[in-house]
Symmetry: C2
């Protein structure tokens, strides 16, 4: 009773809140997420000001900050939306306006849903039929290497699956705390998740001089240093890379797998851009395929989780939040624990599962929808390839900007020279120098890009990430405007 | 370098896995989730056996284990699906088969989406227009008390929002670890989330003798005991109750608010069943409304988060994973932290947001869809009310079963007497006695219900949770079969 009386506060006047910055979860406080950080909030404000008629040196804000194709005007793939509409509103199955193959697909999916409706929870790992579709897709992708539907878990976007696997891996305190190796520059989901889960972020640097290649010597350096203060247990790879746009060579993947095996690291392969490969000579190799083809002991023992999503590729269906993880060589008891953890969240959104099913089993050449599907898909991928090329070209013509080839994914990550006086001015303002640059860029041109400091970069270098998603007719002027702004900024501060 | 060499293992033969039960996250290991536990896995197996032609004493498995209306045959509300289909596949906006008001709604929503498409990520807190719709709904529901769209966050089902708020609250170690009061019996998302987050679960018991009422003296007992070993900082209420089906009286809610204020507890009100109230004389009172009407200091200072979902009510759109949380009197800096945390997950699924928008702004009496919408809605709610009544009646006619009135939600939670020899037999098998009962029930009748031990119950009492969702024509035989099985089971073990 004593304790209760002690903590009960007198009722006169204001009490302090229960939940304050001081009392809240300190791990959450440490989370950072640049892709939607202050620069995006400012972009929102500017848009509002424009709508209210405030005069600006630009007429629209262009959001090149996030890999969100449809937000930038890309049209949905017709077939995907036809099937989904049929599933959402099955009365349409009687409509003459939908092709037969779309109807067949929709009926097949509805049969596999509880109560034949998207409105029922699915099993927590996702609809069994769709897990089987995903397994077939992986087998085709990987030249016949088998995939087991029971090792596939559908998710609320890849983000959710990545968080789930990281959550399983986190344990220990002080020097035994789990460490996770992540690339720098990285997609900030990783740093944010590790902060939230109170794991140790172990940085390995990609080699900008070699088109952002991953170097095993650098992995080893990072690992050895980390072992002094934590217990590194996992290695994350993003391939094709975000924000860096590189596509890993097969030999490099082999070397990474050997390294992970020797050093006993759980591999996490973020392969959400597997359909986004543009550069001549670049090709996507899945970690699963390479691992399997390396034979034992790698094929039989190396633990791997590989992630995919409906948000990227040619479909860009971000809003539906569909994705999956395939686990390989996962301990059976741990897999049961994973299953249990997923069941607490009930299930991933069923519409996202349906879209995923279309992505992994698109129309076949004999289907009525094939020609249109194929044409729409190719058009998107061809335009992305052209925009990747153009981005590299225009940036590399600008003095003080250097851009590696955009081999894959949806981003360029050019390096910018910033004059010492600009760096100094930023420091006076308490801003990272590239944040200062990007903020000024936004205020003066309406172009919204994310500073490199949000992804990590070598000390003393400055970058920004810009998507290649704006429509072609806007992209060229955009790139030129950005280059001109950089020149002007450089003059202003030298 | 020394550390690296030491931990590198020789390459002969098998290595232990990196991720095992011993090395994995111990908090995840401690998670339990009964609603999808062993009994549901066994039900799945039985269904498969039936399909394969194995002879059983029943012809179908009836899943009365989960609050999933459409899985049990409930039809979706037409208007909701029409609007969603239009949003998914906007070509349909030209179709004569959709009512004008559905088209208007769809166009309004598409206007508010990035790129006018559901395929774009929304802002992390959810589409602004829909947050405004939710705010208007809350104002209407609460008799005009204002709601601020900026305090509303859309979510991936209520589950996601509940996890987010709990995550903010968790801090401390040892005796300063955050404690969270939850009802017993509870919806096991709460115990699972607290285990995962390494917070302390503090049980307060609902009073079965008074129709599962919440008693402030019991809250005080639980709180005082907990203060010896943790730092209780939040109080969860589920109203209407899952699994217990009670609807709280207004005086009770006032008493709980006063208690929370005096004891400085953050209130979490799980109100996902706010549309599911059946009993004569029962009425839903939101915590927000009662809190506000109590005036200062409660209205101005008491922190509250209230949760809602598209999964329950009359729509039962579980698969879409839509929901929201409204926060009240949350510290502004903490709210910014919450915003940041949400942004890491990018956004809730947009189709779920769209359905939520329909639920909070349904057709008005002047709209062409009003009559049908209203008729469908009423039919579902009337049938649920009838099934709630029937369940209570049939169970209370059975000797050895005692069932409180199902005032609201979707479940009965009857108490069953189990003979001492059955309890002994269960213990020999290493099972909770009610798990033993439910497993036998499933094997012999095909009826799948969840043992009370999965939700918590007073020591030495036994219960099961059964949904009221099976269609009327199945429900009566089901209830009778269950009662008869209990009688037989009782004879067998006495
Ligand atoms: C590398 C990478 N992984 C994962 C994701 C998450 O995507 P989603 O959760 O939408 O599937 C993204 C999104 O941009 C990404 O770039
Ligand atoms: C009391 C309660 N809260 C929350 C939920 C979560 O529902 P959802 O995540 O589907 O919105 C449920 C689901 O059964 C519930 O019963």
């Amino acid at each position: 009773m004593g304790t209760c009386l002690m903590t009960s506060v007198a009722m006169n006047g204001l009490k302090e809140k229960v939940l304050t910055l001081d009392t809240m979860n300190p791990c959450v406080r440490r989370v950072e997420y640049a892709v939607r950080g202050p620069i995006v909030l400012r972009a929102l404000e500017l848009e509002q000001e424009l709508r209210q008629g405030v005069k600006k040196p630009f007429t629209e804000v262009i959001r090149a900050n996030i890999g969100d194709a449809q937000a930038m005007g890309q049209k949905p793939i017709t077939f995907l939306r036809q099937v989904l509409a049929l599933c959402v509103h099955p009365d349409l199955l009687n409509s003459p306006d939908f092709p037969e193959d779309a109807k067949r697909k929709a009926e097949r999916i509805l049969q596999a849903c509880g109560g034949h409706s998207l409105g029922a929870y699915s099993v927590s790992s996702g609809i069994q039929l769709i897990r089987e579709d995903v397994a077939s897709y992986i087998e085709r992708r990987d030249g016949g290497i088998p995939a087991d539907p029971n090792n596939i878990y559908l998710s609320t976007g890849a983000s959710d699956a990545i968080l789930t696997v990281l959550k399983l891996l986190v344990a220990g305190e002080g020097p035994t705390r789990t460490g996770v190796l992540i690339p720098i520059p990285q997609y900030p989901l990783y740093s944010a998740a590790l902060a939230e889960l109170n794991a140790v972020q172990v940085d390995y640097y990609l080699d900008e001089e070699r088109a952002w290649a991953l170097d095993v010597a650098e992995l080893r350096r990072a690992l050895c240093q980390a072992r002094d203060h934590c217990c590194p247990r996992a290695l994350c790879i993003i391939n094709p890379g975000n924000p860096t746009g590189q596509v890993q060579a097969r030999e490099c993947i082999e070397a990474v797998i050997r390294f992970a095996f020797e050093e006993r690291l759980f591999l996490m392969a973020d392969e959400v851009y597997q359909d986004n490969v543009y550069a001549e000579g670049s090709q996507f190799h899945s970690f699963k395929k390479v691992l399997t083809e390396m034979g034992p002991p790698y094929a039989t023992q190396q633990e791997l989780a590989s992630f995919h999503s409906v948000s990227k590729g040619y479909m860009g269906e971000c809003g539906f939040r569909g994705g999956y993880v395939e686990v390989v060589n996962l301990d059976a008891a741990v897999q049961q624990q994973m299953q249990k953890l997923l069941s607490v969240r009930l299930c991933p959104p069923v519409p996202g599962q349906v879209l995923l099913s279309m992505v992994v089993s698109p129309p076949a050449p004999s289907d009525p929808s094939f020609a249109q599907f194929q044409a729409e898909r190719q058009a998107v991928l061809a335009e992305l390839a052209a925009k990747a090329k153009l981005t590299e070209q225009v940036f590399n013509e600008a003095p003080g900007i250097r851009c590696n080839p955009v081999q894959g994914a949806m981003y360029s990550f050019p390096r910018v020279q910033l004059p010492p006086r600009a760096v100094q001015r930023a420091q006076e303002l308490g801003l990272a120098p590239d944040m200062f640059f990007c903020m000024r860029l936004l205020e003066e041109t309406g172009i919204c890009v994310v500073p490199g400091s949000g992804f990590g970069q070598r000390e003393g270098t400055y970058h920004f990430r810009m998507t290649i998603l704006p429509p072609m007719e806007k992209l060229r002027p955009l790139l030129e405007k950005l280059s001109q702004f950089h020149a002007k900024f450089t003059r202003e501060y030298s």
